[in-house]
């Protein structure tokens, strides 16, 4: 037998490593509620063999895949099942996105327009007749509420209120705020600035920031996603060259830029991958290395339930956010069973997916109600919308909880800022 031949037998996305054990099928949230979906094993490694022979074996039912990656997390053999599925959608699907998909996917454009007239948009989108039109004409489910648009973008707030002070710090990071912080929830960005400044770090925006493109990929707009991805990676690279790590507060943006860019869009990211990280991971590591200290308020009390967002689980970073939260003396943290909440970004907004989306999340919603915490905490903004809408419990990013619990003056003193 020729030496080393096994080492050369490396297949795309580890396709050949699939043992057909079918473990992944037990953890697919879509299969559980939608039998028309052929499941991860069949959609991924099984059918890929046929597709490689003849693209007519491509099945449009694959668009039902949430890309949650729970099949990959479950796989004992390291097969990138969801990557196989998403890559085949990009390669073979002939169905273009409809207007609704383009709108949902273009979070940047829609957000910019909506911010200008936020109060009108927020009220209008909440009106029953408008919801009926969105549902009937656009195919956006009437049960959904759009996350409210902020009247001031995070970037605008930052430039006016925070930017001038940032150069005064000794150490520096950049911040990829993402669409959600910029258009809908600037408070999360303000919370991060508060923590980083207290710890002695100046925070800076990237030279250019575009939407990470996760919704574009999901809606079949991979070319646009690639263009935006190139812009982001260039900006991140420039920041890295200045020695500034780029922080994020969204698990999905992070995952998309670190892993999906390379795996699905063919963007070269290996040189900057370690310069792009979730803020909780960055903070945890600084604290562990003894480089910074955080002090927390003595009167802070909270009982929070942690929800493991799918992409957080896939990155393996749940431990950073939870270990960081556990450092807050007044916080009791309950771990929820790790399961998908069902929203998967724009997926749950589409009327054809709404019912499925709610069924997928039902186990999680029941558990949250049983635990009855003060609030739920998760690193993903779309999980936040879904859980808030479906359970009524408030959902906070771990960064916001840290900021709330932080004793700012003591932290400044401890870090000699």
């Amino acid at each position: 037998m020729p030496e080393g031949i096994q080492l050369k037998n490396i297949s795309g996305n580890n396709l050949e490593q699939c043992l057909k054990c079918s473990i992944c099928t037990a953890y697919c949230p879509v299969s559980a509620v939608e039998p028309a979906y052929p499941g991860p094993k069949h959609s991924g490694p099984d059918l890929e063999r046929y597709r490689l022979k003849d693209n007519r074996f491509f099945d449009e039912a694959l668009k039902m895949c949430l890309n949650c990656k729970r099949c990959e997390v479950a796989c004992p053999s390291g097969v990138r099942i969801a990557d196989i599925i998403q890559a085949s959608r990009i390669k073979y699907s002939t169905h273009g996105p409809i207007l609704r998909d383009r709108m949902l996917a273009n979070t940047d454009f829609v957000g910019t327009m909506a911010n200008r007239v936020a109060p009108i948009v927020n009220t209008t989108l909440g009106l029953k007749p408008v919801k009926a039109v969105l549902h009937g004409v656009m195919g956006i489910d009437k049960h959904r509420s759009f996350p409210a648009y902020s009247s001031q973008k995070f970037e605008t707030w930052f430039k006016r209120n925070a930017a001038p002070k940032q150069d005064g710090y000794r150490k520096h990071v950049s911040y990829f705020h993402g669409c959600y912080v910029n258009y809908n929830f600037p408070q999360l960005g303000k919370d991060l600035v508060k923590i980083m400044n207290a710890a002695g770090y100046g925070v800076h925006l990237l030279e250019k920031e575009k939407c990470c493109g996760v919704a574009l990929i999901a809606n079949g707009l991979s070319k646009q996603a690639r263009r935006q991805g190139e812009v982001n990676i260039n900006s991140i690279r420039k920041s890295a060259e200045k020695g500034r790590v780029v922080l994020t507060t969204s698990s999905t943006c992070t995952f998309t830029m670190r892993d999906e860019y390379a795996h699905l869009l063919g963007i070269k990211t290996d040189d900057i991958r370690e310069s792009l990280t979730l803020a909780t991971r960055f903070l945890y590591r600084l604290i562990e290395r003894g480089e910074i200290k955080l002090a927390f308020r003595k009167d802070f009390r909270m009982r929070a339930a942690y929800h493991s967002a799918c992409h957080m689980e896939k990155m393996g970073w749940v431990v950073y956010s939870t270990e960081l939260l556990k450092m807050i003396p007044g916080l009791e943290l309950v771990m929820l069973d790790s399961q998908c909440c069902g929203i998967a970004g724009t997926y749950g907004f589409k009327k054809e997916n709404y019912e499925r989306s709610q069924q997928i999340g039902s186990g999680l919603f029941t558990q949250i109600k049983e635990v009855n915490p003060d609030c739920v905490t998760t690193d993903c903004e779309t999980c936040k919308w879904q859980i808030e809408m479906s359970t009524g419990y408030e959902v906070k990013n771990p960064v916001s909880i840290l900021a709330e619990a932080l004793d700012v003056e003591e932290t400044i003193r401890l870090n000699g800022v």
Binding site: Q6, S77, E274, V319, G363
Partner: protein
């Protein structure tokens, strides 16, 4: 990151050790690369099913004495097995895995093909019999869900008929189960279990069963109930008029998924940290001790601990790997008991005892792993990564996983 104990592997042995150590107040982290072989679980646990000659064992605690000195049970010490077996049973029940059995005397369970196989503990509600060839039923009906292919009713029925049991095979369906058949490939035990987790759907199944079942001492049903707890197994019993018993199906196993979920939940409740979908890929050794390990997802993080346990499983779970040259342990390249020549790894007849089944990590009598001939003082190996036993021939796999994990957990807690 620093823990008291780091366990590599989140299957039956890793979770058992993790739970026991967390109960003792230790900070435990489990690194788990994908789901475990529990997903092929029969619904039963075995201590020792067959002796070295292949004969069924009736009294496992007595028969264990005949095993060779290198068998993990011999390393534990035969006199300790009974006590550890009781502890294992308590731990399973505490997690919500309700099992029945007796380590002093094996009972018999059914394989998915209907064979009778010796077992130590079996999930409550599953079909069992006291002896291999004595069935308490004269007349049975095997009821299957229409279109569910992982439950070969003809094999099961042929086996029962051979023993003089009057046996009829019937099938049933409901609107919800018919809907679940839309993709025939996805009509699996675990997906059916998710449909029947809904009480209303289960009620309709009970109505169907009550309508189709005829005269029978027992109705045998595929074990397709109870994805994340055992509620629906009991509920169906109260809804169906005739007595019912469950038979295991082909994988993925519902009882296995449930066992994994329940053990993980208990571990989390005890404050344990579980890194899922992450693979330990190496470690730093110093002065005969393991200092830290690294993982794929935390590339520049070192996970430090006082004690480490390798519970990474056998070949299927990649706890052991092979190439054309050798069999090896991929995380630390620990010393492995194996035959040198590749031709000696297997026997041509598939039904012979396969030598590779006994390959595994070499340890001392306390299950300390050995690297380059030197004992590593704070690294233990437990479960199916261990050498010296053949779970297929001896039916000792789950017993070795549970008992070696408990034994090592005890060694660690007593050490301080």
């Amino acid at each position: 990151m620093k823990y008291d104990i780091i366990i590599i592997g989140g299957g039956l042995s890793g979770l058992t050790a993790g739970i026991t150590l967390a109960q003792a107040g230790r900070r435990v982290c489990i690194v788990s690369a994908g789901q475990s072989s529990l997903h092929f679980h029969s619904g039963s646990f075995d201590l020792l099913g067959y002796d070295v000659e292949g004969k069924p064992v009736t009294r496992p605690l007595e028969a264990i004495g005949q095993l060779g000195a290198e068998h993990p049970y011999a390393k534990i010490g035969f006199e300790r097995i009974a006590r550890l077996a009781d502890e294992a049973e308590t731990l399973l029940n505490e997690a919500g895995v309700k099992v029945k059995g007796d380590s002093k005397k094996n009972h018999y369970r059914f394989s998915p093909l209907g064979r009778r196989i010796p077992a130590w503990l079996t999930t409550e509600g599953y079909a069992v019999c006291e002896e291999a060839d004595t069935l308490s039923w004269k007349r049975v009906e095997i009821l299957n869900v229409q279109g569910f292919l992982d439950f070969p009713t003809e094999f099961i029925s042929a086996g029962l008929k051979k023993q003089g049991v009057v046996c009829q095979v019937k099938s049933f369906t409901t609107d919800e189960l018919r809907h679940a058949r839309k993709s025939p490939t996805e009509m699996r035990a675990t997906n059916i279990a998710k449909v029947l987790a809904d009480r209303e759907n289960l009620r309709k199944v009970a109505d169907c069963i009550n309508a189709v079942s005829g005269e029978a001492d027992v109705l045998l049903l595929p074990a397709v109930l109870g994805f994340s707890d055992e509620k629906s197994l009991d509920e169906l019993k109260t809804m169906v008029e005739k007595p019912i018993a469950y038979l295991p199906t082909l994988p993925p196993s519902v009882s296995g998924v449930r066992t994994a979920i329940l053990l993980k939940r208990l571990f989390a409740r005890l404050g344990g940290t579980l890194l899922v979908g992450d693979k330990a890929n190496g470690g730093v050794f110093k002065d005969g001790r393991l200092v830290s390990v690294t993982t794929d997802h935390l590339p520049d993080e070192s996970l430090y601990a006082d004690q480490f346990i390798l519970a990474s499983g056998s070949f299927m779970s990649h706890g052991l790997e092979s190439n054309y040259q050798r069999v090896f342990e991929p995380v630390f390249d620990l010393d492995v008991d194996t035959a040198g020549k590749r031709a000696e790894w297997t026997k041509e007849d598939a039904f012979d005892a396969q030598p590779y089944m006994e390959y595994g990590v070499r340890t001392d009598r306390d299950f300390h792993a050995i690297k380059d001939g030197q004992t590593v003082g704070n690294l233990f190996a437990v479960g199916s990564v261990l050498s010296g036993h053949n779970p297929v021939r001896l039916l000792d796999g789950t017993g070795v996983s549970l008992l070696t994990a408990l034994q090592v957990a005890r060694t660690i807690t007593e050490r301080r």
